[in-house]
Symmetry: C2
Subunit: 362 residues, 2 copies
């Protein structure tokens, strides 16, 4: 199966999503806020977390699984912390609010931690870890995934999700260091992308219930994702997924373990998604410029180090998304044809203009 | 080579280390503080991080590489944060102080983050992540390792250490969940233990500069440790090691990247070790008992889940150290004969009584 792309501008993509969200019932400011973040996800190359999710979001909203008019509010608060009740609104709105509060509180306390309950899927983790960067802060983000894809280490009952973590560090002249990773060898979004493209998965992403490699993405519900570390040291990846789940879910009274709703199979139940944003104000640890200069030196030392044979270039976390952002801003954001057909269907259902009027192949 | 153990009581081990530290020039309260934490490491089965390190610590102290009379002080402070200058004292003392400050500040702000510069190796990460538990807080700990054992992903210049992370969560009736992991497939301490015992390493722990498996622990300086994820997804483990290094080292103005001093080869240079302790006050996120009850339920669901064939028991992070603590408190702490001979040598050099007067093999 060929996998051709059409490139669309950020503004066109953002506008398409905004119009869809308005039709789905979100208030104008919220529709715009969600669209901006979803298009940012695509701009930075997080292809499994941007407009790719629109069909699923639309399905959930139409099924009543997401509240389009949420009252997002603080229900617990200290000088450096807050617990948000997202009122089952779109996760993007809850997490944007969480990041804003974390930034404000970190300015006062040096550090802040804002968690959420009754939130929803919010797109790529790095979007929210990046928000403190502009305020000369380090950002971290933790989330409970919206479907359990792995068992306890040694078990077969799927009780833990791919719980992602993201961390972002500002540099002076270099791009920021931005890690964004699921705690499994592969994120489930990548499995879905493989399925949509009709491709097989490499061995090591998933195993079946007997521990044998599973490479057909359409059979993904017959097995589970391997935690980071694989068969050899996967107990560490499982440990990370558990810890992130305790921080982002259990601490906030959000779903964790068997409470997690599989939003791939269930579009109407409240997911009670838990997430957390942390901000550390650089100025609380000395001169901000000195920190950024140290990050520059470290990044250059790492990128400029000698390479293993066959390695053309050393990349740091965030380099690929930085390059995607630069390229996609200039050339447009690639949208795979299979996805475009899905989006056309959504446009038809909502009675809005298609994202692209005519597909042209380069 | 046989590997016999002698078991000694916690009090005997603690007293032996305390006497050694006194002879090495630490003030009484500091000698006791270090000894208590080192013996706790052995009690919980962190065999590579307790009395096993005494010969190395003694060597560094005698070479002037550690300050035995440090003025550990806060040099930057906000309501929720502090930056400690450890004045090149024993890391255990700096980190104990960091945890105490974090606990105090988290009580006021809900969250606290305390970093260090000019600290030193402090033993197992979990010791400090566990300290907030008794105060109904979650604890996290991050450290820059004291020797670079891995390159950037794709590189061959060793610029990053095995930077460990630990996280501890209190439960109600279940043991706490305590993750303590290096961001490599194996910690370097495990390589040293293998060397001391004359054993080979499994494939996957280390590779040489051509990317080929390295299994002889005595050749460890001819290669590097594989980051968590191994050859397949090691870029994630490298990313984690980098992020932890930025948080524990770069943020604090402590050594990171090429600034890191290899304390296995250099006993006199100041390491400028960076670490960080974080505490989150459970009461800032709702009822403490409700949180602990949720951890109990989650832990029981995970431990009680169905197992893969051949798996006798599902363990959570912290279960093994909990079991070791219970068993070693009752039966004594096992000390391998090879280590005992090293400790006898130290005792002779310092003119103190041996840990065990006569070795008896069970």
């Amino acid at each position: 199966m060929t996998d051709q792309n059409t490139r669309v501008s950020f503004e066109r993509l953002r506008g398409f999503i905004e119009t869809a969200m308005l039709e789905l019932g979100l208030p104008p400011a919220d529709a715009r806020g969600v669209a901006e973040l979803m298009a940012q996800a695509d701009l930075q190359g997080s292809e499994g977390h941007g407009v790719f999710r629109l069909p699923q979001y639309a399905r959930r909203i139409k099924a009543g699984g997401v509240n389009t008019k949420p009252d997002i509010r603080i229900i617990e608060e200290r000088a450096g912390t807050a617990l948000l009740d997202g009122d089952n609104g779109m996760g993007h709105l809850v997490m944007k609010r969480a990041a804003e509060i974390a930034i404000e509180k970190a300015r006062a306390c040096g550090v802040a931690w804002v968690g959420s309950r009754f939130s929803n899927h919010a797109g790529p983790a790095s979007l929210y870890a990046r928000m403190p960067l502009a305020h000369d802060m380090i950002g971290l983000y933790f989330a409970v995934g919206n479907a359990n894809h792995l068992p306890a280490w040694g078990g077969i009952d799927m009780l833990v999700s791919t719980n992602p973590v993201a961390a972002a560090f500002p540099a002076r002249n270099e791009p920021p260091v931005v890690l964004d990773m699921a705690t499994t060898v592969a994120a489930y979004g990548k499995v879905k992308t493989k399925a949509q493209r009709g491709e097989t998965m490499p061995e090591g992403w998933m195993v079946d219930r007997d521990g044998k490699p599973l490479t057909d993405p359409n059979r993904s519900d017959e097995g589970f994702l391997l935690p980071l570390g694989g068969m050899e040291a996967g107990y560490k990846g499982f440990g990370l997924a558990l810890v992130i789940g305790l921080l982002a879910g259990t601490l906030n009274g959000a779903a964790m373990g068997k409470e997690v709703v599989d939003f791939n199979k269930d579009s109407s139940s409240v997911t009670n998604t838990g997430q957390a944003v942390m901000a550390i104000d650089l100025s609380a640890f000395g001169a901000v410029d000195a920190f950024k200069a140290r990050v520059d030196v470290l990044a250059r030392d790492l990128r400029g180090s000698r390479r293993m044979s066959g390695v053309g270039k050393i990349s740091l976390p965030g380099d690929n998304s930085h390059a995607a952002r630069v390229r996609n801003a200039r050339e447009g954001i690639p949208v795979a044809d299979a996805l475009l057909r899905e989006l056309d269907k959504i446009a038809g259902e909502l009675g809005i203009a298609k994202l692209v009027q005519e597909i042209s192949h380069a």
